[in-house]
Structures are given as C-alpha cells and as structure tokens.
C-alpha cells in the first residue's frame, strides 16, 4: 500500500532535526489531564508499531517493531478532609461530641491506612479528650452508635480502592473548665500502610500488581483539623424593690405595698434551658393576689397553663429556654402586715 506524501520530508532521515522539532513542540504539550486516580496500578502499557513498504518485486512487505511494555506503578496519595461546615458546638463537660471527616484514596491502587488523632495542638483554647475514632461502617455518611465500628489500629484499618472515600468520626469529651467561645482542635491522620515519604520516594515491588509503590504529592499521609466550640450561657439575676406607703410616700409601714422586680439576663452564647425564677414572700408581709407579671403581662396565681404561680409561701415562674442576650422580668407585690 502506498501513501501520499504530506509536505516536504527533507528532514525525514535526519534524526537530530526531528528530535529538535519534537522538543520545540513539547513545551505546549503538557496539560497532563490525568483523572483523579487514573490508570490502575499494575496495568501494562504495550506499544508496538508496524512499518510497511513496497517490495522490489511488487506487493508490499511489513515489519513489526519490538513490543515495549511498561507496568504502571502504584501512586500512593491520601487526603483527609474535615466535613463539618463550621465549628461543632458543644457545652463544657459534654461527652461523645462528634467531628466528621472523610478519607479519600487519591492513588491508583488499593491501599490501607492507619488512623490516628492528635489533640494537643496549638492555635486553640483547649484540648478535646478524644475517646474514639469510628468508621462509617454502613456507609451512610452519618454516625450510627452501635452500628458504625470503633476503629482499632491494626485490626480494622480502612482499605480503599482508587478514588474511594470513607467517612470517619472522632468522638471527644469537652473539658468542664472551658468557657464560652473557647475552641478546641482535633486532628485526624491517615497514614498509608505501604509507606510514606517525600514525593517520589519509591518502594520496589510493593505496588499493587507487582510494580513499585511511589509516594505522591501528599507524602502518603493525609491529615485535617476539626474544631469544637464551647457554647456556655450564664444568667445574671437582679432583684429590686419599690415601696409605696398608704400616704403617697415610700415608708415601710403596715399597709405599704412592696413591688419586687426580678430580672434575669442570659449572656454568653446559646440557650439556657428550663430557666425558672422563684422567690419567697418575706415574713411579715402578705402576697398581693393577682400581682404576678412576666415582662409586663399579668399571670394568674393558679398553677395552670401560664408559666407563673403563687403557692402559699412564694412565687414561681417557669421561663423555659432563654436565648442568650434575652432579659426576662418578673414582678410581684406584697403588703406589709
């Protein structure tokens, strides 16, 4: 078979000139569009070319080149990412607080990883007490106590195929001494069991499929930090009294009415749950029926649907959950006997 010539081939037999031309093109040819994991480790790349030519006596001859084969080596890369969208909020002293991470095999072979945590890092206010690493055994991305398995190094080290990810949870207790707004950092590490090192480090014969294992850009070790943040609300309580005597003054005489004002102000962050204000009627005075108010609104004395009540010796108002920044004000009146 004959082929038409394309352009001048004057340099076709000059090897050096051809190589120079190829080199000139090379600078623009390096987009390296490899997919995340790419060709699986152990894959063989074979190249063989064929030359054809006219035979002197007519017809055509052909010859094949030698077969060049390469085995694709295993690239070891692993990344760890913290998945929580923002600091995980917890109260001081809370246990079982959850940080969520994802471990992804960025290499091109199956790889197992040893997991670890570090809590005594700088750049934070307290060290979380890390209790356990839990693997997302059922693969639903959420922590399921009793279903997802607690990680035990060397026993259930996660193995991932190329591009595969696994969710991992870190459970911690937050110190009682931490105060509102404190942040605590915890780090999850995933270390390739084949090996780690500077990128380019190779381990002969340890790659999947019998080739070499080569450390990629991540060094064969992934890590990510997650943060806890303490939310602690506190309440300031202010009680004041105003006296009105029967004569238009402010003397403490029998028949004077004392109005008590109880102001509860919640500060910090978060919410105080089930905040309740109680106060007793001082001796020598009598509760003035129907005088109980909350934030200016009247409350009945009976223990009923409204949050306030008077029960013989004192008043009680259930404020429920009060968000930080809010002030709830209770008033009631007594008459000096």
């Amino acid at each position: 078979m004959r082929y038409q010539a394309l352009g001048a081939e004057s340099s076709a037999f000059v090897k050096n000139a051809l190589l120079a031309a190829a080199t000139a093109v090379s600078a623009a040819a390096f987009a390296a569009p490899a997919e995340a994991a790419g060709t699986a480790a152990g894959t063989t790349i074979s190249n063989v070319a064929t030359a054809t030519y006219d035979l002197p006596g007519g017809g055509s001859g052909s010859v094949q080149s030698n077969v060049v084969t390469l085995k694709v080596d295993e690239l070891i890369d692993v990344t760890v990412a913290w998945r929580d969208p923002s600091d995980v909020i917890g109260t001081a002293g809370a246990t079982g607080q959850l940080l969520s991470f994802t471990i992804t095999n960025g290499g091109n072979g199956n790889e197992s990883y040893t997991l670890g945590t570090i809590a005594n890092l700088g750049g934070d206010d307290f060290d979380p007490a890390i209790g356990a690493i839990v693997l997302d055994t059922n693969g639903n991305g959420a922590y399921d106590p009793g279903v997802d398995t607690v990680y035990v190094p060397g026993t259930n080290d996660p193995q991932l195929t190329p591009d595969q990810s696994v969710a991992v949870f870190v459970l911690s207790a937050l110190p009682l001494a931490a105060t509102d707004g404190n942040r605590g950092r915890a780090e999850l590490t995933a270390v390739s069991k084949t090996g780690t090192g500077t990128p380019g480090t190779s381990f002969a014969g340890l790659g999947q499929g019998g080739g070499n294992a080569v450390i990629g850009a991540t060094g064969g070790k992934g890590l990510a930090d997650g943060f806890y943040k303490i939310q602690k609300a506190s309440v300031a309580f202010l009680k004041s009294a105003a006296i009105a005597d029967p004569f238009g003054g402010a003397s403490q005489v029998p028949g004077s009415i004392i109005t008590y004002t109880l102001a509860a102000t919640v500060s910090g962050t978060g919410t105080l749950a089930n905040l309740k204000i109680t106060d007793s009627v001082p001796s020598g005075t009598s509760y003035k029926p129907g005088s109980l108010t909350l934030d200016g609104g009247a409350l009945t004395d009976a223990a009923d649907a409204d949050p306030g009540s008077f029960a013989g010796t004192g008043i009680a108002v259930n404020l429920g959950n009060v968000a930080s920044g809010a002030t709830r004000t209770v008033t009631f009146k007594v008459k000096i006997d």
């Binding site: 070319a49 060049v68 070499n212």
Partner: protein, 155 residues
C-alpha cells in the same frame, strides 16, 4: 513472508535493529519525560528510561527505522496504535497522519471529527487519537535510518 517477518521481530525484540532480513527494521522505544531541577535551580526537562511510571507521567514513544536492504525502500509507512492507557498529547514528528476511529480513516488532526450523542459530531482533540502514522513520500535509501516520535500521558 510478511507473517514470517512479523513473527521473527516479535520473537527477538532485543535484536530489533537486526530484524527484517533484507528490507527494513523498526525498533520501538519509550521514554519518560520529567522536569527536574537543573543548574542554578532552573527546571530542566529530561528524558529518562522508564523506571517508575504513574498516572500523569509524560511518555515519549520513539520509533527508529533503518533500511537494512540493498535497495531504496519505497512506499514506506510507520503506523503506531496509541496504547489504551495512554492519551495522545501531540508532540509528534512532522508529517504525521491521525486516526480517531481505530485506524479506519486518516487525516490531519484538524480535519477529523468524533461522533457524539444524537448523531452530532465535534472536532477531534489529541485525546481522541487512536493511531498515528507517518507516510514517507520519498524512498528511503539503502542504509539510511531515521526516527519518528510522539508524546502521550499515562491516563
């Protein structure tokens, strides 16, 4: 005859240049192209024998030919299928023809199209190339040798 020559070449790859009893020999080589720190810290591009090969590595496929016969070789072509795990990235020696359909049709890359969904087609890109071929217009004199090459990246 043709089959016999092909079998011989396959059976004795080490003796590549000695193959082809009286006409033409063809030897295939592959190199890895890497960028390394050079003198003064400037990066230099080097070609190496393939030791470690991982996805994303840039390969140079080189084909060395020689007319080992006594007569000029006319109608000379070299055809090389792109290995399955390699994406062609250009960098080919001049006067190459391409196929994006497994070697059924050939042309300059700019003239080729790839069928898409719904009967549509789009211009072919280097990554679509399945075969590369060089057709020599002039006979190769007896004893003359040369080389062609192209580049690819490990997928």
């Amino acid at each position: 005859m043709r089959i016999w020559i092909a079998l011989l070449a396959l059976a004795a790859p080490a003796a590549a240049f000695a193959a082809g009893p009286e006409h033409v020999s063809l030897a295939s080589h592959v190199f890895v192209e890497r960028v390394k720190p050079g003198p003064g810290g400037k990066p230099v591009t080097v070609r190496e024998a393939p030791g470690i090969v991982t996805p994303g590595d840039r390969l140079i496929f080189e084909l060395d030919y020689r007319n080992v016969g006594a007569e000029p070789a006319t109608g000379f072509t070299i055809t090389d299928p792109i290995p399955a795990s390699v994406a062609f990235t250009g960098g080919e020696s001049e006067n190459a023809l391409f196929s994006v359909d497994g070697g059924r049709s050939w042309g300059p890359l700019g003239s080729l199209r790839v069928a898409g969904p719904n009967g549509a087609s789009r211009p072919a890109t280097p990554a679509d190339v399945t075969h590369v071929k060089w057709a020599f217009a002039r006979p190769i004199p007896a004893g003359a040798a040369g080389s062609v090459s192209f580049r690819g990246v490990v997928k």
